[in-house]
Amino acid sequence: MSETTQGALQIKNLRKMFGTFCAVDDISLDIQKGEFLTLLGPSGSGKTTLLMMIAGFLDISAGDIALDGTSISNTPPEKRNFGMVFQGYALFPHMSVRDNIGYALSVRKTPKADINKRVDEMLDLVQLQDFADRKPGQLSGGQQQRVALARALCFAPPVLLLDEPLGALDKKLRVEVQEQLKDIHKRVGTTFIYVTHDQEEALSMSDRVVIMRDGAVEQVGTPKELYERPQSEFAASFLGKSNFLRTSDGTHALRPEKIDLAPTGTGKTTPRMSGTIRSVTYFGSMQRIMVDTQAAGELEVDIDSWRNPEPFVEGQAVDLMWEDHAVVRLERTES
């Protein structure tokens, strides 16, 4: 079910200056209709600034934003018809859940019966039928989050902007809500632009991820592309963990889980390096082992717990092995 025919967003050479500080630096992105795009970056990377410019709350200093080919750079936020889920939800505390969700239609002077019908649909979508008459203050964090989502989707916007919508939820609930969000995205077919600093959220939900750093785009791609083929040390270490091997032909990324470990001389393949174990941390399903090597300094190795019934111990001499394709040469190296 797709509720709108619009939703392709073109961002061209966008820039935002705060005084002399450049918060967003020459960003260009082509966002497809119905895409789930995540802006991922540490705080201060400009991802929220970019989102606020798309929403229209911040003026743009240079460049252009267009919806389906029409520039919206000078359209005020209330005329852009973009849904938005705010950090902290920003629900209207004095209104019932029903009035919160129906607000966008009510300010558009939609007939009351139509609003009620649509709000009921939205309550079904987010499974809050029994809470329609409550006030936001009487709901749990997860329920408030769903009200915010329903409120933002009620007027069938072509684009939905989400600003760290799961930030206030505890970890277990967050995974659950991620599933719901993905499901709702599939059902409404709206373009989702999702801001987060949580790499797991970015990997598990997005069609494409934009890694941002210091106001600029570091790398864009599907979660798999980014994880398997990072182009820079920053991309490799921000999305997942990575070891870096520095050789004469550049820097290479090597994911911890792609290294195999065996006591010296017992490995099934030719060892690439050897070293001694500095520490072992047990995480249940896997254990994180730090190995001191002569060739590359300290390396992190993640080993599935079940594969090594014989536990590794600190000070043990080990061989390190990996496949050729596990090592990715970075296109850009840090200066």
Partner: protein
């Protein structure tokens, strides 16, 4: 308690003082004048205060601090000084009348003083800073993202103000109304000076009874009446909304 006792025992035991409320001609008039002036003062002060507080919250940091300083300075100036300043300004030969005359808007001086208008001007002027403070605190704690959300959902500025901002500042408005109204009830100096004895309010009447005619029973009765009036008002307000939210408790 002393006052309550006094109000039923002086000059003779019984409810004679309270009966006065209905029998005397002057008392109901004075009470009505007081209530009327207090209501008008409250309405004007809170409306003006709301505009001021709104402007302050939305001003830049530097201007905001300057405005707050001016507001606080006005608290330090004695009410007597401020009332007599109005005397200078509003008199028949005061600055305002002179100017209006000079630019030719009026030919006869307007009677700003020795009537209710004068009392109102003086009281509103004194009360506005009190009205601003609770509103300011309330507005400063509002989450601006809620207003952004309203605009994002397609509401115009006016729709956002009347449907979101105003309801969310209701606790501030109620606190402000209560504060100004209760303070106005006890107002004494301004009505005495700017009313010129022609606008008699309860507080002034009490002092006359106490100090000049020495009818302490009547004075105590009126004081008790005002106390009850305020308590009843708080009780009624409490029924309409939880006062705890007005006085800074958690909103949920």
């Amino acid at each position: 308690m002393n006052i309550l006792w006094l109000s039923v025992s002086d000059p003779e035991p019984g409810l004679g003082n309270y009966a006065n409320l209905f029998e005397s001609e002057a008392l109901p008039r004075i009470i009505w004048t007081t209530v009327r002036i207090c209501i008008i003062t409250t309405l004007l002060s809170v409306s003006l205060g709301y505009c001021l507080a709104y402007a302050m919250v939305h001003a830049y940091r530097k201007e905001q601090n300057m405005m707050l300083t001016f507001l606080l300075v006005s608290f330090w100036i004695s009410i007597l000084v401020r009332t007599f300043s109005w005397l200078m300004l509003l008199g028949r030969k005061g600055l305002v009348n002179e100017w209006l005359d000079a630019i030719g808007i009026i030919s006869e001086p307007i009677a700003f003083m020795r009537n209710e208008l004068g009392v109102l001007i003086g009281m509103v002027h004194y009360m506005v800073p009190y009205a601003v403070l609770p509103l300011l605190v309330n507005m400063q704690t509002l989450d601006q993202r809620v207003m952004s959300a309203s605009r994002n959902l397609g509401a115009t500025g006016a729709q956002t103000f009347f449907r979101i901002y105003l309801p969310m500042t209701k606790p501030g408005i109620v606190a402000s109304v209560l504060l100004v109204f209760i303070l106005s009830l006890g107002f004494y100096v301004t009505p005495a000076v700017l009313g010129g004895g022609k606008v008699l309010m309860v507080a002034e009447y009490i002092s006359v009874q106490l100090l000049i005619t020495l009818k302490w029973g009547i004075a105590a009765m009126l004081a008790a009446l005002m106390l009850f009036g305020v308590l009843v008002m708080l009780w009624v307000m409490n029924r309409f909304m939880k006062l705890s939210t007005v006085f800074g408790g958690a909103t949920s």
